[in-house]
Symmetry: C5
Subunit: 300 residues, 5 copies
C-alpha cells in the first residue's frame, strides 16, 4: 500500500503522519470513524428516547464502545475527551474542533460553527496528557454567509494538522436556500472537490441517492473521483438494519470508491455489546477486507 503524504507535512513529521495514517486505517488506507459529536449537534435527541438503548443516556457509553471495539478513530469534542480520557487511554482519538446545536433550522439562519480549539491546543494537550490523538476534524457548511470564514478556518486546520503529522478530516455540507437536494451526486461531488482543494485527508460527505433513495453507485464514483487523493467517508446516518447497513457499506467501498465511513448513531444507540459487535463488523469491512458474510458473523 502506497500512502499519499501531503507536501505540507514537513520532513521531520512524515514518520508521525505515516504512523497515524497506517494505525488509523489498519494499513488499509481506509478509515472507520466512530462519530460521537452528536451531544452538541443533536442535543439529547440521539441519546435518549424510543428505540435508543438505555446505555446511551450516559456519555460514558461512547467511551466504553470506543475502548472495547475495533475502530479507526473516535471523533468527539475536546471537553468530553478531557473528562473521560484518564480512564480510557487506549482509544485512538480524533478531536472534532467545531460543533453547533440544532436549535435553529438551516432555513432560518445560515449555519456557522467556529473551531473551539486550535490545532496547537490539541498538540499540546496530546503531549501533556499522553493520549493517542491521531487527528482533528472540522465541519464546513458551504453556501451561506459564513462560507468564507469556514473555508479559511478549514484550510488552516488541515495545514496545521499536517505540520504536526496529524490527520485532518473535514465534514463538508452544502446548506442554505439555494441547496435543493442534499443527496444530489453532482452537488456532493462539488463538496468533495472543495475538500480536495482544502487538502483534507478524509472528507465526510452525504451519500448520493438515486430517485428511490438508494445508493447511487455511479454518483458515488463521480464523488470519489472529484475528491482526488482525499478519501471519501460516507455518512452513517440514522439507525437502520445491520445487514442492510453492512451491504451498503461494502458497495460504497468496493463499487463507489469510498475510503471509509463515519458512523455514530447506528452504533451507539445500541446497548454496549451490540454496539461493540456492529463497530467490529464495520471495521472488518472497512479495514480488514472482510466480506459482508464474514462481517455478519461478528454480530453473532
Amino acid at each position: 500500500m502506497k500512502f499519499n503524504i501531503p507536501a505540507d507535512v514537513p520532513a521531520k513529521k512524515v514518520a508521525t503522519y505515516k504512523k497515524n495514517l497506517k494505525e488509523a486505517t489498519n494499513n488499509s488506507n481506509r478509515l472507520m470513524l466512530f462519530a460521537g459529536d452528536q451531544k452538541v449537534e443533536h442535543l439529547n435527541n440521539d441519546f435518549y428516547g424510543k428505540g435508543i438503548a438505555k446505555d446511551d443516556s450516559n456519555p460514558e457509553h461512547l467511551f466504553k464502545i470506543a475502548s472495547q471495539a475495533k475502530i479507526g478513530v473516535f471523533a468527539t469534542q475536546f471537553g468530553l475527551i478531557s473528562r473521560y480520557a484518564r480512564d480510557y487511554k487506549n482509544i485512538p482519538y480524533l478531536v472534532k474542533l467545531n460543533s453547533k446545536t440544532n436549535l435553529v433550522p438551516y432555513d432560518a439562519q445560515d449555519p456557522y460553527s467556529e473551531a473551539w480549539f486550535s490545532v496547537d491546543d490539541v498538540v499540546d494537550f496530546a503531549k501533556e496528557s499522553g493520549l493517542d490523538i491521531k487527528g482533528v476534524g472540522y465541519t464546513v457548511y458551504l453556501g451561506g454567509k459564513y462560507e468564507h470564514s469556514m473555508l479559511k478556518e478549514a484550510a488552516q486546520i488541515v495545514h496545521q494538522a499536517h505540520k504536526n503529522g496529524l490527520l485532518a478530516v473535514l465534514w463538508i455540507y452544502p446548506k442554505g436556500r439555494f441547496v435543493k437536494n442534499e443527496h444530489d451526486r453532482h452537488l456532493i461531488a462539488g463538496a468533495a472537490g472543495v475538500g480536495a482543494c482544502l487538502g483534507a485527508d478524509f472528507i465526510k460527505l452525504k451519500v448520493p441517492f438515486d430517485k428511490n433513495g438508494n445508493l447511487d453507485v455511479k454518483g458515488l464514483q463521480e464523488v470519489t473521483l472529484a475528491a482526488g487523493r482525499s478519501g471519501v467517508l460516507c455518512e452513517g446516518g440514522a439507525k437502520v438494519d445491520e445487514k442492510a447497513f453492512l451491504e451498503e457499506l461494502y458497495a460504497q467501498i468496493h463499487k463507489g470508491g469510498s475510503r471509509g465511513n463515519g458512523t455514530g448513531r447506528n452504533i451507539h444507540q445500541r446497548d454496549l455489546k451490540e454496539a461493540v459487535n456492529l463497530a467490529n463488523a464495520i471495521y472488518a469491512i472497512t479495514c480488514e477486507n472482510a466480506t459482508v458474510k464474514e462481517a455478519l458473523k461478528l454480530l453473532k
Copy 2:
C-alpha cells in the same frame, strides 16, 4: 470520594485543581454557588424594591453574606470583587467572566455576552492580590446568532481554567424564537450534554418542571445523566419560602442526581442575618449531607 480530574489539567496543576475542588465542595463533590452577578444581569431590580431587605441596596451586602456564611464559592464580576476584596479576603471567589443587562428582551435580540477578562487576567489577579479565587464562570446562550462565538469562548475558558488548576462553571441557557419552553427536560438535558462536551466542571441549568410547574424528578435524572461527569447545579430562582426551597434542593440532589445549586436572590434579598442562615442551611444540605430537618434548624 473519588474526584474526576479532567485530562487537560496538566500534571503540575493536578494538586491545585484537586484542592480547589475539594475545598469548594467540602469534599462532597457538590457545589453551593452563591450567585451575585445580578447587578448587571437584572440591573437594580433584584436589589431594591418591595419585598427586598434594605441591606441589599448596597453591594457590600453580598460580600458580608459571602464572608459570614458557609458557601462553596461566591460568583460575581471581577470589578466588583476588586473594589471590596481587600476587606473580604476570606471569601472563596469565582469570577463570573461575562454578563449582560436585561434592557433588551430575548425575543427582540439574540442574547450575547463576551468574556470581560481572560483566564490569564484572573490568574494574574489572584497571584498579585493573594485572593482565594477557586474558579471562573461563563454564561452560554444556545440557539442564537452568536452561539458559535459563545461555544468557542466557553470551550477555551474551561480549558484555560483547567490548565491553571481552576474550576470552570458554565451557565447554559437555550434561548431564542425556536425555544418554546425553557423548563422542558429534554431541552435542558441537551444543554447539559453541551456542557459536558465543553468539559465544564459544573453546569448551571434551568430546573425541569412538570406540567404543574413542580420539579420533574425523572426529567432531572435525564439531565444529570446527560451531563456525564460534569455536575449539574440547579438554578435557585426568585425568592420563595425557605422550607419549600430546602425540600426541593434535597430532592434535586438525592433523587435527581444534581450536584449542587446556584442561588442568589433567594439569599441576598433577605437581611444579613436571615441571608447568612439560609446560606448555611443550603450549604448543609449540599455539602454536609444534612437532612432538610437538620438544615431547617439552622434558620432558628
Copy 3:
C-alpha cells in the same frame, strides 16, 4: 479620609494610585471633572452659536480654562491633548478614550464607540511627554447591539488603568428603543450597579428627575447606594443659571450622596473669566467643602 484601593491595583502601583486619587480630589474623595469631549460628541454645536461666548469657538479656550481654574481633571481626547499640551503642562488630564458624533439619532442606530487608544498607549504617552495624566475615561451605552463589546472594553480599561495606578471614570448611559425615560431613578441605579461591577472609580450618570424635572433626591440615594464604592458623578448638562446650578450640585453631594460632577458646556460656553470663576465655584463645593454661599462669592 480613608481611600478605597481596588484589589487589582498591584502593590507597586498603590502609591501612584493613591497620589492620583488624592490629587484629583483634593483629598476629598470627590471629583470635579471638567468635561471637554464635546467637539466629537456634539460637533460644533456646543462651541459656536447663540448664547455661546466667542472664546469658545477656538478649542484652545478649553485648555486656558483648565489651566487657570481649579479643577480635578480635564477630560478630553488624546489627539486634542497632544496638539496643545506642550503649552499647557500644568493641567491634570484625563484621557477620554472613546467618542462618537451625534450625526445619527439614537433611535436610528444603536450607539457604539470603541476606544481609540489602549491604556498602554496612554501610559507610554504620559511617560514620554511628562504630562500629568491622572486617568482615563470611557463611555458605555447599555441596551443595544454593541453592549457586549462595550462592557468588555470598559472592564478591560478599568483593570488596565488600575494596573498602572491610574483612575478610571466610566460614563454609563442606557440607550435604545427599550429605554423610555433616561432620567428614571431605577434605571440610573441599574447603570450605577453596572459601573460598580466594572470596577470603576467614578461613574458619570444622568441625574434622576422627579415628575417636574427636578432633582429626585431619594432617587439619587438609590443610585449612589447601588454604585457601592464607585463614586457617582452627576452630569452637568446644558448651560443654566449659576446659582441654581451650584445649589443643585450641593444637594447632589450632601443629600444624594454623589461624589462629584462632570461639567463641560456650563463652564466653557462662558468667556474665559466667567468660565474660570464658575469652575472654581464648582471645585469649592465639590472638593473644598464650601457652602453654596461661599462658592457664589467666587463668581464675584
Copy 4:
C-alpha cells in the same frame, strides 16, 4: 514661523517631524497636497473621457507632474507608489492608507474603508526604499455604521505617524442619510473639530458654500477656528477655470484662515505642461506667499 509640535511626537523624533513639516510646507506652515488617489475612489472616470487630456489615461502622468512641479506632497496609494517610485525618487510622497470605490452610492450603503497598511509598514518601506515619505493620509466618514471603527483607526494612525515623526493628514466627510448638505459650514466645522480631537496635522474638508454655491468666507472662518491647531485643507474639486480657482484659493487662505489645499483632478486632467504650471501656481499662492497675479504669470 513657530511650528506646533504635537506632544505625542517623542523627543527623538521632533527633528524629523519638524523637517517633514518645514519641507512639505516650504516653511510656510501651509500645505499644497497634490491628490492622486482617484483611480480607486472614482475608478477611471477622472482619467479618461471628454475634457480630460490624453496624458491622464496612464497613471505615470501623476508621477511626471509630481516630479516636475513644485508640490508639498503627492498623495496616492502605496501600491501605485511602489510600481513607479524607483524612477521617481525626487517626489515627496504621502501614502494614502485607505480608499474605496464609488460603485455603491452613499445612500445605498454606509461608506467604509479600512487602512490597507499600518504606519509601521510605511516606515519600513521608506527605510528600505530610501523614498522621501513625509506622511500618511486617511479618510474618515462620519455618521454611518462604521464611524466607530474609522475614528479609532484614524486616531491610531495619527498617533503612530507622530511617533515616527511623520505628518498625518485626515480627509473627513460626514455622510449618510442624516447629512442633508455637505457644504453646510456648521457641519464642516464639526468635522474640523473631530479632526482636531484626532490630533491631525492637516484636515482635508469640503468647502462651505453660501446659498449661491460660492465660497462662504465667514463659514470657513468658523471651520478653521474649530480646527484649532490642525490646518484646514480645502478640497480642490472638479476641473474649473484656472483664474477662478486661484482667486478662491487665495481667499480661502487669506480670508478664511485655511492652511492649504488638496487638489487632484483640476491638475492632472490637463496635459503635462499645463498641469505642471497650474501646480506651480497653486504652490506659489499656498507656500510662497504669491498674489493671484503673480501666480497667474506662472501659467504663461
Copy 5:
C-alpha cells in the same frame, strides 16, 4: 527587456523577484497563467458532464497538464497542491489564496472570500517542500459590503509577496446590484486602475466586449493603459474553438496591449494530449512571440 521592479521589493529580494518574473514569463514580461481553481469556484461543473473529457473528472488531470505542457504558472489552491506536489515537482506554482463556491448567486449575497493562507505560510511551505512557487493570487470583488476588507487583504498580500520576491496576481471583478455590464470597458478600466493602486504585478480581468459580444480592442487599450505598469491578463472563459481562441489572444496582446492570459476550462476540459497541445499554443503566442499560424501548428 526591462523589467519593472516594484519599490517594495527589498534589495536582498530583487534577484529572486527578477528570477521569478523572468522564468514565469520566459523573459517576455507576459504571463501564461493556467488557471485551476475552479473546483471550488464552480464545484464540479467544470470537471464532469457533457462536452468535458473524462480525464477531467480527476483533479490529477490538472497536474498532468501543468507538468507536461509549457506554462507560465499553474494557479490553484494550497491544499490541492499539497496533495499532489510530491509527484509533480517540476511545475511552476502560483498559490491562489482565496476562493468561494458558486452556490449563492451574486445578486442574493455580496461575494466575499478571505485568504485561506498568509504569504508567510506560502513562503514557509515553499522552503520546507522545495517546490517552485513563483507567486500568489487573490480575487477582489469590488462594489459590495466586503470591498473594504478585500482591498485591504489584497494590498497586504501584494506587499508581502514583494517582500519575499514573489509575484502577485490579482483577479479583480466589480460585482453587485450597481454593476450593470461586467464587460463594459470603462468599468474594467476602473478595475485595472484599482489593481495598479494595489501594486499588482498582473491583474486578471474580464475582457471588454463591443455590442456584439466581440473583443473591444479600443476598450482593451483603455484598460491596459489604466493598469499602468501592472500587466493585464485576459480571462480565458468557457471552452471555445481553438483557432478563434488563439486569434483573439493574439489581438489582445498585440493590439490591446494585454500582457497575457489566464485560461483554465478551455484547456483542462480536453483530454490530456489536446490540453497539453493547446496550452503549448497559448504559451507560444504569449511568451514565445509566435504568430497564430505558428501556434496552430502545435495543435497538429
